[in-house]
Symmetry: C2
Subunit: 434 residues, 2 copies
């Protein structure tokens, strides 16, 4: 076995002493690291979060966008507003109205995907060492952004109704009593990535009340809210309080991610700072993409398309749940999401999802191990299973392969005792069980 | 006259105490603030830096990009690589070869416009308080980015051959002797924005030698290098030293800015950090835009298009220089750029370009006052005049109006003495004279 020589790899980068302190938080995300393996055609990938957009009206879209270039090219291919195109911001208000939000286009800034929206929000709010409260577990890409601005993440306990308000109160008091600042609470209330949990309406009301009481900003990240399967879209936190909520929206799941168009809806003072930060970061968000999406919303049946997505993803969710039911051993548990892209699975006691990963790959199935969704090392018995991209048949087959991998691991454990080459402690309570 | 009540405007933003320290550097750029006025149709705008892209082959482009959506929509509208699409990175190597650069696609990361490339470079390199050396004057958008990461900018004297190497040495020694770090030197060697100055080849060699001697990173920002009028493209700094130069490229001026596609070419260690920072900032740069540009480069005569741009902008440069010759009063001087978009003008002694701005607007001509291009308050006798967007006739007419505004100001000064409502000191040496 070759041990990498750290001195050599250091010597290879002459800039090793030049990097800013904030780069210490930069690391390869667990999701990204899996891509090479998960994208091999023989592997059923339950790992990626890539939407299935093959049912979009490609012919109509191609003709509409091609025509737009011919008729308005010099405008739509030039620089635009740092805040984003006004017509698109008006259309975004119509989209948000589906979740009960009343907003003015003036309070929206367009971002290069909602990931960049979160980056800008963090940039204008977080000083190094400031605390950000998050759900348990939470979106790996948000953890990366917070870390790159040297924010300190604290996970708050979360149950099947969402983040627990008394936990928010306790964490805030603890942080404040140590002289630090809670800069905001980051939540994905609809079909959380990775847990799939939907925050109940009652819980939303309680969380808003706590935020008002403690004067905490809520950052509501909502890519999946319109992709409900068994119920109508739920009222956004922003629909309950316009003053304490910064709202992040995205076209990546209701239309297509490749345009990289998301948005932030924020109170006026925050919005002004966000626009300045956007101009500093990009001059203006992608102009051509904005016109393309605006044209799609104007000329295509976007609401009908969302209905189609809901029904398509529901079939896939059903295939995954059926497969888990058929193939998982006793002692395994998982969430039953009513929308979105993800199921969160907890392995039987003693299993480690990082460790199981290689065996799963050899059985030609991929998932994302749970530890990436925690800033504090928890999640080792968990995995994120996504049902967005493969067909229902492939998803079902994926669960069969996963069941095989788990059975093989269990057999080895029965034969040789507890197998854990990494030496991590067994018997820890796994998150998601409480 | 209404004096704004600072307490009231503060009370209007309940988040006023929540912002991160880095937002203190965020301010409305002088260029952006002018847009509302400069875009009125009766005004000749010599202010904006918007390229004239009306001669692009719109029909061919619309048909190529529309066809791409029909044939490959599910791929080109989905998430893509954080580093950027491989084929486009290969094509970018062909583009850079025109300025003598030999590079591997592996060492390129795509950015959301080269502005975002600069943002990422600053993010991974600059700690608060680190020093960045820049030309005098330099790009206002770069000053904004450096400020937003709390970098400290020091201007180095610049003449008609570019930045002065002995000034770089002196500034570096001064910074280092005070215990601080020069993180990099930022330069626009080709047709500097705003001065229009082209760094001579001899000066490039000297600068590289100084960078090697002092072990300083050079950040070479090159949006205009292929838009030469009277000479062939010059060798890039990066073509002379691959180890000390981080190179920023852009399609905004050689094709179209609305796609927001630029790139960074960097040594391997830096590149790795930039890709992680890009994933954290946006997940991936605009995918659809990248495929659209790649298709343009594959199917259209992009080199011929650049020739057309060169000849079109040359005519506009000529109109501006002819107009200045015909309409500027004695004591005015200006640069004679051999490419790019900008002329840098120095008003006669005693004039203030910020102050003249309102009078120019009433004469229906707009420019950007010089102070925005300095971090240290200089530039008050200067203005940036751009010749990229209006027709040659309008540009010439703009100089006539500017001449009228200056003459009117001069007349008032002769009648009433020195007119300076802002109370800034007169008689200061103006930058650009040395």
């Amino acid at each position: 076995m070759t041990v990498p020589d750290k001195r050599v790899s250091t010597r290879l980068d002459p800039f090793v002493d030049a990097y800013a302190e904030r780069t210490e938080g930069l690391k390869v995300s667990a999701v990204r690291a899996l891509f090479a393996v998960a994208n091999r055609p023989e592997v059923v990938s339950l790992a990626g979060g890539m939407p299935n957009i093959s049912d979009l009206p490609l012919k109509a879209l191609g003709s509409a966008i091609g025509g737009l270039i011919e008729s308005r090219g010099p405008q739509i291919m030039n620089y635009g507003s740092g805040q984003g195109e006004e017509k698109l911001r008006e259309q975004i208000c119509e989209v948000m109205a589906l979740e009960g939000i009343e907003a003015s286009p003036d309070n929206i800034v367009i971002s290069c995907g909602s990931q960049q929206g979160l980056d800008l929000v963090t940039r204008i709010l977080v000083n190094p060492g400031d605390v950000i409260l998050v759900e348990s577990p939470t979106y790996v890409g948000a953890l990366g952004t917070f870390s790159s601005y040297q924010g300190k993440v604290i996970h708050v306990d979360t149950d099947d109704q969402g983040i627990i308000p008394s936990g928010v109160v306790a964490a805030t008091e603890m942080v404040r009593s140590s002289g630090r600042t809670v800069k905001f609470l980051y939540t994905i209330p609809n079909f959380n990535n990775p847990s799939g949990v939907l925050m109940s309406v009652e819980r939303r009301r309680e969380l808003i009340a706590v935020a008002q009481e403690l004067d905490i900003i809520l950052v509501e990240d909502n890519p999946y809210g319109l992709l409900t399967f068994d119920l109508p879209p739920q009222p956004a936190l922003r629909s309950m309080d316009a003053d304490h909520v910064i709202y992040l929206g995205s076209f990546s799941k209701t239309f297509a991610p490749g345009f990289r168009v998301g948005w932030v809806l924020a109170p006026p003072g925050v919005l002004k700072k966000l626009v300045l930060a956007q101009e500093s970061a990009t001059l203006c968000p992608p102009v051509f993409s904005q016109f393309a999406i605006s044209e799609y919303l104007s000329t295509c049946d976007w609401k009908g398309q969302i209905e189609q997505f809901r029904s398509m993803y529901k079939q896939r969710r059903d295939a995954l749940l059926r497969g888990l039911e058929d193939h998982m051993p006793p002692g395994t548990s998982w969430t039953h999401p009513e929308g979105g892209f993800f199921v969160w699975l907890t392995l039987p006691e003693g299993f480690d999802s990082d460790q199981l990963s290689a065996r799963a790959t050899s059985h030609r199935v991929a998932y994302v191990p749970g530890t990436g969704f925690y800033a504090d090392g928890l999640g080792s018995r968990n995995m994120r299973l996504s049902f967005c991209f493969p067909t229902p048949e492939r998803i079902y087959e994926g669960t069969r392969r996963l069941g095989e991998a788990i059975a093989e691991e269990a057999e080895l454990r029965a034969t040789f005792g507890f197998v854990n080459p990494c030496g991590s402690p067994s018997g820890l309570p796994a998150p998601g069980e409480s």
